[in-house]
Symmetry: C3
């Protein structure tokens, strides 16, 4: 079960080659991404309406796609406009298209009712291509349900345990509970930890004295359906924290977890920085640290998933650190229920409308 | 669900080694093929009646097979005729045998009621060992249901799209619809395409001028449960087609798709030719072209199958090119229903008979 | 379905490293084995009560284990005694422990009701570390249900067929039926075969003349839940068998099959000998022969399992050699039923008790 009426991050802009396709499954639907003559992204269901062959095995012919099984031709609206030895193309011969927005290097696709596709619900990831920030695009594929990754991202008390030598810092970091606020479409976490150890991956960019303590902050929103937008960093300890940002190290993280199937997930991420932006090796070093840390998460989450799969009756004991993930799961479930009851009512509403129009 | 009362192609004659076994699963039943002292093929269920061990891990002892788990000995009728430390062999200790016919290099096995095994339902594949024809035996294994392969073989409009550089020819080939006739046990397709491109794989054997056009024909029967028998070829364009076969290139194709399980299929095939039959390299070149093309089909069909497996509610939009495959699937379903209702009636009939005999 | 109230062999003592963990799943429960400061073995469920992460990815801190996902700390009774940013640890925050006994190099774990854990039900495997015997520890992992392996061990008529060049001897060995007795917690098999071939693996240690015949004996108990304890060997033929053990070759085999999941099994084994005990190469040669033979069993059992999985309606035809395995399966089923009906009665008994105490 997935939320449908929301924008999912489907990929990085550069993943669609100039004259080719990106084939990617989102919430269990195979999708085909390509560009029309004006370089606009087109998204079609990657499954020919005739016999189900993938259109991604087909070829572009101008602004159309030809299925290379039996030669059906589809325009960019998904309508079949040609078929060998066929006098009349059945009008229902079409594949579904999806609203798509390309913004700040990310592709956002709307998998639900297209009339509800509201672009104001595309979260702001301006740091991905902001001239004063730099980042390297990241991607990981997970063989587990996306909610286990959401759980991980909604509780940063795991940092000193899962990432002791990368993002982590010292155990006292976990002792400070974040402030958790529910937003209309997500959860906001706020946390300052004072006089603590700097995380290994970023310590080196501050020119701080060895063993110098820092004040670390972390403000982030985790938005439906699984987008993390974070302002994080550190200042030298004792200089006033947020009131004196001199010599601070700042990051803006953009991360998105997008379900592929019930049991697999796409994970897109970048860790933008505003310092040393003319040194690509700094950007690359940050990327390397982040992906190393995310592999640490993946090891843990996959082991957790294996353990959970073994016993469907296992009951988790809740701790106070679970506040944010509990709220997020509640939001997701509420949206799914709303969408399902709307689906259930639709046939009834339609039947009623037909009945009424029959009476007139 | 499979048709049971029909002859399935189980393999090539040469696949049964002189003193050994061929183990192969057909319609989900593990079978053991071997030869008795008179070189006749014997087929036993490849599952010892005692604990289910495969007899194919056993050994031949004269005209018997010994299971090498606990030493049970079976004769060629499947009857257990020996067991260590057993005073009396239980009469129900036997494994099933199946009617088998070896003809024109193919092994045909009847998986249903043996009393219905009618040899006149073995289709004629004389070109496999005809002295005036040559072919090389082919085999492919598919991890998909056999009906997806039947669909492929029942609609040759895919040729110019899936096989552009092998069997295909030019796109106009797909524009000509074949004549489709229903037979009692299959479907007949007839098609001539005039003044078209010669397919790459056979063009070279005609000594036609470069870019010379040809008239191509294709007559084939696709018979229950999945046997394709085709007369195909080409004549130089404009010389009268079927009325003047001078300088024509002729093939006789024999192909059989045999379900292994619900999700896997054996595919046996040969493309016989009656020209240059003293040149084995010609025969081999034709075999190579055909297997290359069949791998192209396999790529497409496996991708299609993956797409179909993802969404059990996907509805195919029918096109007129689907006429033959629609008729064939109808035939198969009708036979399965007939066999099932016969199975359902059997216990009732037996109960009635017992009742009547009790009344006497 | 597994018997729970019994001792399962969980591993070899040496498998728990001094400062680390052994993680192993038994009857579908992931377990973590480690040693406290007094070198006593501790067993915890290897699944953190918080979010299900494996504790085996954690670290030892004194006599506690820290989960390295969110930092929860568990003592050796499984109680959570620390959690970052948590004022009060919920008392239900604990992981289950299991009774464990380390004896004669084997670890025995009780997976059921700990109040029923009766150490007198730990079978005697003294030969594993007896000063007058030597053996090398063996382990195999099977991808099949443990009962198929039990079947194999309960019917040694397979020896000359599955193991002709290792344990087997000549076919006459299978012609002698063992005496089978039901014990309270298992089955006892007794068999002497006179004037037969010596098995290849042990013949060489007897200095018998080439082709000399032997008298072979085999006494063994196969105990719930799957422990084989065997006294076996041979004397030169004709000297009086059990009445004159001169120049005999003696073995004591200890084997245990422990379900990992419904479809996988741990197999622990050793073949102890009391001759040439100062020659480690003899001990190793015996180990090599045994593991070679057990791989032969595994090949057969895995092929059998594949055949059985193909057809859930396959009915085995019983033979007289199945007497012991039939009795053992009956014992296992009776124990499972008893445990299940006890589980069913527990809530009723509890409800009755509450009702009564409410009435007082």
């Amino acid at each position: 079960m997935f939320v449908k009426n929301c924008w999912y991050v489907a990929g990085w802009s550069h993943e669609i080659p100039k004259d080719g396709f990106l084939a990617r499954t989102i919430v269990n639907v195979p999708l085909l991404f390509w560009r029309d003559n004006d370089d606009n992204v087109v998204v079609l269901e990657d499954r020919c309406c005739h016999r189900g062959a993938p259109l991604s095995m087909g070829r572009k012919e101008g602004e159309c796609i030809r299925c290379m099984y039996h030669g059906l031709l589809f325009d960019k609206n998904g309508q079949c406009v040609g078929a060998p030895a066929q006098e009349r193309i059945p009008p229902q011969a079409k594949v579904r298209t999806y609203p798509i927005v390309e913004r700040h290097r990310w592709l956002w696709v709307w998998m639900g009712d297209p009339t509800l596709a509201d672009e104001s619900l595309i979260w702001d990831t301006q740091w991905l291509d902001h001239p004063e920030w730099r980042c390297e695009p990241g991607y990981l594929h997970y063989d587990c349900n996306y909610l286990l990754i959401a759980d991980n991202l909604l509780d940063f008390s795991h940092l000193p345990f899962v990432h002791p030598t990368t993002l982590g810092g010292s155990p006292d970091y976990a002792e400070v509970k974040p402030k958790v606020e529910r937003l209309e479409h997500g959860v906001r976490m706020t946390k300052w930890v004072y006089n603590t150890e700097a995380p290994a991956y970023s310590r080196k960019f501050g020119n701080y004295p060895p063993d110098a303590k820092v004040d670390r902050w972390m403000y982030y929103d985790f938005m439906i359906p699984g987008v993390l937008l974070m302002d994080t960093g550190m200042t030298p300890a004792g200089q006033g924290a947020a009131n004196n940002m001199e010599n601070s190290i700042k990051f803006r993280a953009c991360q998105a977890i997008t379900p592929e199937t019930e049991n697999s997930t796409h994970y897109f991420f970048a860790q933008a920085h505003d310092f040393l932006i003319d040194q690509p090796e700094v950007t690359h070093s940050i990327y390397q640290s982040v992906i190393t840390a995310f592999e640490e998460d993946k090891n843990m989450i996959m082991a957790q998933q294996k353990n959970l799969a073994r016993d469907s009756e296992f009951k988790m004991v809740p701790f106070s650190i679970d506040a944010a993930l509990g709220q997020f799961r509640w939001l997701i479930n509420r949206m799914i229920q709303k969408e399902q009851s709307a689906d259930d009512q639709q046939p009834a509403a339609e039947a009623a409308r037909k009945l009424v129009s029959g009476l007139r």
